[in-house]
């Protein structure tokens, strides 16, 4: 639509007439697929959250525009209509804008990760050339075109280049290092290739493959890099995501590419920023850090006194980085100490002290208020004598006289707190009661719990984060905001819940001991995933082919060897009856009765994996191991062998070879080998007979 106009004005301006294929494309993912900002993001997409009085997506679009990007696809998922509406009314979508923008939206049910969105974009086949991939919550002043050129230059020497990812150097202890995105990168310093990528949050030990050091004469291990969430991608990135539907995040992608490097010959390069700024607002502490960086002008020219649009006038800058939009009223003896931004038509009362904070538009702040390190959005009303330190206060909040907000709090939009309320540290509040559809707690209980800390006049409910797999790490990171190490009752409660959960999980696992599960975390997770797939597959009678596909994708996701796959699949099948009925094998005939239909159902799966002698031996080994660890199973082993032999899953030769080889575990000699002895002799006899016949 507007591309005509752009090219016209470009050609008019003279020097650079651009060919169609040279149009610089960018894909902006306007969703972070996380709930780090909940409950604020319940009603507003993260991309539209204000950062120093400006929606985050504006920074991202501005930096793309300043880089000279000509066309941007904005991909939105959560609250897509709001983003679409915002962009429509903004200067970005005007026909005269030098960068044309196309909004693509997708419902959150169909798109749950970066991987899903890229697969969707691939499906729409919008992009044919190199493109810039960026998240809408990235604040950067990087000139991307030279990096794009560098990427193209590298392709001349390395045909397999799929991506150049941009990192920024920040030493440990830097405020813009996100605790949940700590990473270690192994790179080849001579050409900048990424050799290994590991996320190190909560890890004490790292292991690197020896081949990496053998292959490359020089390897740099870097811990001082921060992921900027900006990458230059070759067009092949999209089909790669489509082919591997287990790639969910950027990390999955990189790992996948590195694992398959020899086969597909794909390579990833890194680019380290020199002298420019880029940071990703991944969570609330990062929001704090990036806001400070913007206020202290690290992100220049993306600073409040140069950013403006038709609707929002620019801030004026006075010394000590105090920014004010027009119409700000400062009462006598009020102090804006340093690093403060105040939005349009806000009023600040007498003797109020503000430092290192952002105050949005149309806020009214009373007398004798203390505000330190707080982010206050639009239309907030703060009455006299309030005390706010290290907090995020969303749109339309009302704090009555003498409210004290603890450190690290997030107050959701529309919350009203009665006079004198004290909010403990690290609380997240929202204006409506939590939805209890997915919680087993009844709403009464919730209300009781919620109403307690606040007086009856408040409109506020405690937000509780749904328990996720990685909730430990997450809550730890959130707690770090503005706190040293401070335990409070709520986090303890959380921990209790988590522990209870863990206990349950452990019980599940203890019921069935499947034998030597490798220490390797990958194999263990692989096993769990396979077990899950099989259980579902059996319950829902899913076809064998689909299950094989599912197991294969897990195999690539966790990078396990073929031998492990064979063994673990067999083990998973054998343990299925006890997992499903939640009781251990009894050692009676019932076991076999339960197991038989399962094996029957999974015959196609087994046939797929047990194709040659070696795989059969693996499976027999697994069978044996399983037997060693589940003594009750021994009784059924003979029947299992007979069944599998009868169904042509295991060949005679394999069974005999297995039998002649000494077992790994000597205890198996007595038990398992003994039980199978009659079956083996029967086999041998049958063989002799058949050979005689043939003679």
């Amino acid at each position: 639509m507007s591309s005509n106009k752009t090219s016209k004005s470009m050609s008019k301006s003279g020097s650079e007439v651009l060919k169609q294929e040279d149009v610089v494309l960018a894909v902006l993912i306007a969703d972070s697929f996380s709930i780090r900002f909940a409950p604020v993001t319940d009603s507003k997409p993260k991309a539209l959250l204000p950062l120093v009085n400006r929606p985050m997506i504006d920074y991202a679009l501005e930096s793309l525009l300043l880089s000279g990007v000509q066309k941007t696809f904005v991909y939105c998922v959560a609250h897509a209509d709001q983003i679409r509406q915002y962009l429509k009314e903004s200067k970005w979508m005007r026909s005269v804008s030098p960068m044309s923008i196309e909004v693509i939206s997708q419902s959150p049910d169909d798109c749950r990760s970066l991987g899903d969105s890229l697969r969707d974009i691939d499906g729409k086949s919008l992009i044919r050339g190199d493109f810039i991939l960026m998240s809408a919550d990235v604040i950067s002043n990087v000139q991307l075109i030279p990096i794009l050129e560098e990427h193209r230059e590298k392709r001349k020497t390395d045909k397999g280049i799929v991506m150049t990812h941009i990192f920024k150097k920040s030493f440990p202890g830097h405020r813009s290092r996100s605790a949940e995105e700590e990473l270690v990168l192994a790179i080849n310093p001579t050409n900048g290739r990424i050799l290994n990528y590991q996320q190190t949050t909560n890890l004490k030990k790292l292991s690197f493959p020896l081949e990496m050091f053998k292959e490359h004469g020089l390897v740099d291990l870097r811990y001082d890099l921060v992921d900027t969430h900006i990458s230059i991608c070759s067009p092949v990135v999209l089909p790669l995501f489509s082919d591997n539907f287990d790639y969910q995040t950027w990390g999955d992608f990189v790992r996948g590419i590195l694992i398959n490097e020899e086969i597909l010959n794909n390579t990833i390069y890194y680019h380290q920023l020199e002298g420019s700024y880029a940071a990703h607002v991944s969570n609330v502490p990062m929001y704090d850090a990036v806001s400070k960086d913007v206020i202290q002008r690290w992100a220049f020219p993306l600073v409040p006194d140069l950013n403006r649009s038709e609707t929002t006038p620019r801030h004026t800058l006075s010394r000590h980085n105090v920014y004010k939009q027009p119409g700000v009223t400062l009462a006598k003896e009020s102090v804006l100490e340093r690093d403060v931004a105040v939005g349009e038509n806000s009023k600040i009362g007498e003797r109020t002290f503000v430092t290192q904070s952002v105050i949005g538009s149309r806020c009214t702040i009373g007398n004798d208020v203390y505000i330190n390190n707080a982010y206050i959005w639009d239309d907030v009303n703060i009455k006299n004598n309030c005390h706010i330190e290290v907090a995020l206060i969303a749109d339309g909040v009302v704090l009555n006289e003498g409210v004290k907000i603890g450190r690290g709090c997030v107050i959701g939009p529309g919350v009203v707190l009665a006079a004198g309320t004290k909010i403990p540290d690290n609380t997240r509040l929202m204006a409506h009661p939590p939805k209890c559809d997915n919680d087993f707690e009844t709403s009464d209980e919730e209300d009781d719990k919620v109403a307690k800390p606040f007086s009856a006049d408040s409109v506020a409910y405690v937000y509780q984060r749904p328990v996720e797999e990685d909730s430990d790490a997450e809550s730890l990171i959130d707690e770090l905001w503005g706190l040293d190490i401070d335990e409070d009752s709520e986090s303890e409660e959380d921990e209790d819940e988590d522990e209870a959960d863990n206990d349950e999980d452990e019980e599940h696992e203890e019921e069935v001991d499947v034998g030597d599960l490798p220490e390797d975390m990958n194999a263990r997770s692989f096993y769990n995933e396979v077990l899950e797939s099989l259980q579902r597959g059996y319950e829902e009678k899913i076809k064998g082919d689909n299950l094989v596909l599912e197991i294969n994708s897990s195999k690539y996701a966790y990078n396990v060897t073929m031998k492990e796959v064979n063994m673990l699949v067999i083990k998973a099948m054998l343990s299925l009856p006890s997992v499903m009925t939640k009781k251990a094998a009894t050692g009676t005939n019932e076991d076999w009765v339960a197991l038989r239909p399962i094996l029957q159902h999974f015959l196609p799966v087994m046939r797929n994996y047990l194709k040659n002698n070696q795989s059969m031996l693996d499976s027999l080994e697994a069978l044996e191991e399983f037997g060693v660890h589940n003594s009750h199973f021994v009784k059924s082993i003979c029947k299992v062998l007979h069944f599998l032999y009868g169904e042509d899953v295991l060949s005679e030769d394999a069974i005999l070879e297995w039998y002649t080889n000494p077992p790994n575990d000597p205890s198996a000699l007595k038990t398992i080998r003994k039980t199978v002895e009659p079956f083996i002799t029967w086999l041998e006899e049958a063989e002799e007979e058949s050979s005689e016949e043939s003679d």
Partner: protein, 350 residues
């Protein structure tokens, strides 16, 4: 901005975008480009009379100035456009009467408001006249650098030692032009933290001028042997003070101490009718990323210190000896007179 054709809006957008991307190299380039922008706008826009045209120019000009508040040149060019419109209108209105007389006497300046016509008459010849005038002005802009360097021989004498700071295209051309006939030495202060002085030193050395690069801290020590300081500036304020690259004030004070003449090369388009009432004045200075002063990767340090990186210095007029503009040499006290010739008093406040 109501009722602006999208074509014009597109031109403006391209200009502001280039401005934001810092595609203009130096203030002369910016001045040239903004005048070309005005030429396009005035040429393509539909307007009935001069009043309407001037209102639109003011509106667009204000908007442009907001985009880059510290670039005074944009505002200056807007004022020049208004002045051209006024002059041409008056000329066509009153016949061949010489308009510049109007501002000669104090009385006429004071009564300018009353005598000012309302510019509402529709004069068909106005547009071509304005376009022609803008064309002349463009030519003047283009030759400003050459006009200044043509005066070099009057100011630089044989075997003199000249000191300068940072990088200025005008100064570079000025010195090179003098070097064609005279032998002299140049000392360049490097101008940390941007180190633009390095570039100038390299340029001059290439032109076979004997050049010495010194750190900013050595300015005072070296001043004793210097015959003349010649610098460029970002803009000249209404009182004859300078808005120049950070470090210039130091240089000016040192020159004053040793009574070394302090000469400023400033083409006329850098003359700005605004006063400096406070160093905190909005839009006077520009603070860029502190990256050059402190690396952002410095771990814990970044959150513990506040680093400022201003670009400009203010040099009061009493420290300046002489301005060399494309029309000749002027003392700082004469700037007000030049300004009244360049801009109409009613346009000072856009």
């Amino acid at each position: 901005m109501p009722s602006l054709e999208s074509e014009i809006e597109g031109i403006i957008e391209t200009f502001t975008n280039n401005l934001k991307q810092r595609k203009f190299k130096g203030s002369r380039d910016l001045a040239l480009n903004s005048v070309q922008l005005w030429k396009k706008i005035i040429g393509q826009m539909k307007w009935q009379n001069a009043r309407e045209l001037m209102d639109t120019i003011k509106k667009i000009g204000k908007d442009l100035a907001e985009t880059a508040p510290s670039e005074t040149v944009i505002g200056n060019m807007t004022r020049r456009m208004l002045k051209i419109v006024r002059d041409e209108y008056a000329m066509l209105q009153k016949g061949k009467q010489e308009e510049s007389d109007l501002q000669d006497s104090l009385q006429k300046i004071l009564t300018a408001d009353e005598s000012d016509s309302d510019y509402t008459k529709n004069i068909p010849l106005l547009k071509p006249a304005i376009m022609e005038h803008i064309g002349e002005f463009l030519a003047e802009l283009e030759s400003s650098e050459i006009d200044i360097s043509a005066q070099a021989l009057e100011h630089i004498h044989a075997n003199e030692i000249i000191m300068t700071i940072g990088y200025s295209k005008t100064v570079s051309a000025f010195l090179k032009s003098a070097a064609k006939n005279r032998v002299f030495q140049v000392i360049v202060a490097e101008c940390a933290p941007f180190f633009h002085g390095h570039q100038l030193a390299a340029d001059l050395a290439e032109a076979r001028i004997s050049t010495t690069l010194i750190p900013d801290s050595a300015i005072f020590a070296m001043m004793a042997r210097v015959n003349k300081v010649i610098i460029g500036t970002h803009s000249v304020m209404a009182n004859g003070g300078l808005k120049a690259v950070c470090g210039t004030h130091t240089l000016a004070l040192a020159a004053k101490h040793y009574s070394v003449p302090f000469v400023v090369c400033a083409p006329m388009f850098k003359l700005c009718p605004e006063y400096v009432c406070s160093l905190d004045q909005d839009g006077f200075n520009q603070f860029v990323s502190p990256e050059e002063v402190l690396n952002n990767d410095e771990g814990k340090l970044v959150s513990k210190v506040n680093v400022y990186n201003p670009i400009f210095d203010y040099v009061p007029p009493e420290l300046v000896t002489l301005f060399i503009s494309n029309t000749g040499g002027n003392a700082p006290s004469y700037i007000y007179r030049l300004l009244s010739e360049l801009y109409h008093p009613l346009d000072v406040q856009l």
